[in-house]
């Protein structure tokens, strides 16, 4: 089948971009402002998330064993715990080790320890979790599951800490998604307006193309590429501005922030997603306008 490929559409799109230079420049500027906000919140999001992850790593669960378990039973329990999804590390803590740790924590108050007489602490397994696991509900389920397990005396974990972490995760996720949707809709709106202006300025040509047998794809192709390119340019510009701001921050501020949890720039994959995602939003904006115009 004969026809023109993506290079023709790209050349036509570039011609269109040049023809409506001022309007397109304004659109790129507006998109980059919207994407700048997205980028700023992404930086905040990723940095807070990394902090939350670090806190999550520190979250532990203790599975206390009943007295008199055989080595075989202990091994069985160890492997069952290790197999649980989200569990990163399982460490056996014998009652002697636990007591030693306890004694170390109560240094200076030896009288209290002496008062205890025989070591009352049981053997236990200490669990650490994967970054994303500490959902309070998942931890609660895991605790419930192993509480009733043969050979297990009790399960304890920092319930309050887990709930705070889980809340933070939710706030970040839902807040981030809402903001992204809101700004995504604005990008679609900006692009659809910009493409609409391009469509009106070339209305005569489009009408003529319809009369001389142009298919819908042939007419809309360049406009969709135009919308995609505009949004990608805007997004790339936003990333550039963010990078410029990030690297021009005074070293004192960077040092101050790195004392907390380290202020990192967006990972390259997120930058790529931002530019490609912006392009997709541009494509949607272009489609909205072209469809309305051609109908």
């Amino acid at each position: 089948m004969r026809g023109y490929g993506p290079f023709y559409f790209l050349a036509e799109a570039l011609r269109g971009l040049r023809a409506n230079g001022v309007v397109n420049l304004l659109a790129v500027g507006t998109i980059s402002m919207a994407m700048l906000i997205v980028g700023f919140f992404l930086i905040v999001f990723f940095n807070v998330q990394s902090a939350v992850n670090k806190m999550g790593e520190r979250l532990e669960m203790s599975v206390y064993m009943k007295e008199g378990l055989t080595q075989h039973e202990k091994d069985f329990l160890f492997y069952r715990l290790k197999m649980e999804p989200g569990v990163k590390k399982v460490v056996f803590l014998s009652k002697t080790e636990a007591f030693a740790m306890f004694a170390k924590e109560l240094k200076g108050q030896e009288a209290l320890i002496q008062g205890l007489g025989e070591n009352p602490l049981p053997d236990s397994f200490e669990l650490n979790f994967e970054h994303r696991f500490p959902e309070s509900s998942s931890l609660e389920l895991l605790a419930k599951k192993f509480s009733g397990f043969p050979g297990v005396e009790d399960v304890s974990y920092g319930k309050q800490g887990a709930e705070v972490l889980s809340g933070l995760y939710k706030l970040l996720s839902y807040g981030g998604i809402s903001l992204a949707v809101l700004l995504g809709v604005s990008v679609v709106f900006i692009i659809s307006n910009s493409v609409r202006l391009a469509l009106y300025s070339r209305g005569q040509e489009i009408e003529l193309m319809q009369w001389i047998g142009a298919t819908r794809g042939f007419i809309q192709g360049p406009f969709l590429i135009e919308g995609t390119l505009l949004a990608m340019l805007g997004s790339a510009l936003a990333v550039g501005i963010l990078m410029a701001i990030y690297y021009s921050l005074p070293s004192e501020i960077m040092f101050l922030m790195s004392r907390v949890n380290g202020l990192d720039f967006l990972p390259p994959s997120v930058v790529a997603y931002m530019v490609v995602g912006g392009g997709l939003l541009g494509l949607v904006g272009g489609l909205v306008s072209v469809r309305r115009f051609l109908e």
Partner: protein, 247 residues
């Protein structure tokens, strides 16, 4: 080639076409005449699938347009050239680019575009002005370019809506001569016009319309029938000599 059966089209309840039926065979040259508002333009728009009829059946090149999906309309139009009263040339593009656009639209390979555009412009005598933009040309020249654009994809059918409405008599005659030549090479031509003088001189089939209805369909009006042995020669409105059967 074109078959219309009892076609009716309403605009806000008022019939622009009313029970219109006719057949145009392959290779025919047909004039559609009538005063303004007779329904000539609506008729052409319906044939060209710009408008849809409210009643009746339309068969173009064996295709029932009622059953045609909107995505198939461009492919049907590629077999029909259309010439407009206002030329519809893109003013910012050169004559060559205007013709090239029609070739690109149908997916002509890049290597063929220049040659084919040149050939068709030569056919209408506009090849020397191919680098100019339309506003630099006279009305007659612009219409010739528009005819070239309509012909460049070698359509089986040419439709023209008042193609000489904005032209001086000599330019109009040249455009009609082009139509006659195209028709002689086998293209079906359907021209909507109220240029009675040319219509009568060309002695082709005339469909006369009034208030959306066909009032007459024949080679010429009864009042124009004369018995003659040899073609009559007479003077045109601008003083030039014209032969009967020619524009």
């Amino acid at each position: 080639m074109i078959q219309l059966y009892r076609v009716t089209k309403y605009y806000e309840g008022v019939p622009a076409l009313n029970d219109v039926s006719f057949i145009v065979n392959k290779g025919e040259f047909v004039f559609v005449t009538g005063p303004s508002g007779a329904g000539k333009t609506t008729l052409l728009k319906i044939i060209f699938c710009v408008e849809q009829a409210d009643e009746g059946q339309i068969i173009i090149q064996g295709i029932n347009t009622f059953r045609l999906k909107s995505s198939s309309i461009p492919y049907l139009r590629r077999n029909m050239g259309f010439v407009f009263q206002d030329y519809k040339l893109l003013p910012q593009k050169s004559i060559f680019e205007n013709i090239a656009l029609a070739l690109k639209v149908v997916g002509t390979p890049y290597g063929d575009i220049e040659r084919r555009a040149y050939q068709v412009l030569k056919k209408v005598g506009m090849h020397d002005k191919r680098h100019l933009v339309p506003p630099k040309l006279s009305g007659g020249e612009q219409q010739k370019v528009a005819v070239a654009r309509a012909l460049v994809n070698e359509p089986q059918m040419l439709l023209a809506d008042e193609p000489t409405g904005n032209l001086d008599p000599e330019s109009a005659r040249e455009v009609f001569r082009l139509f006659r030549d195209i028709n002689m090479k086998g293209t079906t031509v359907l021209v909507a016009t109220h240029d009675w003088e040319t219509v009568n001189k060309m002695r082709r089939r005339i469909i006369t319309m009034e208030r959306g209805r066909i009032t007459d369909d024949g080679t010429q009006r009864a009042s124009d029938v004369h018995l003659r042995v040899s073609p009559r020669t007479e003077e045109g409105t601008d003083g030039s000599r014209m032969n009967e059967g020619e524009p």
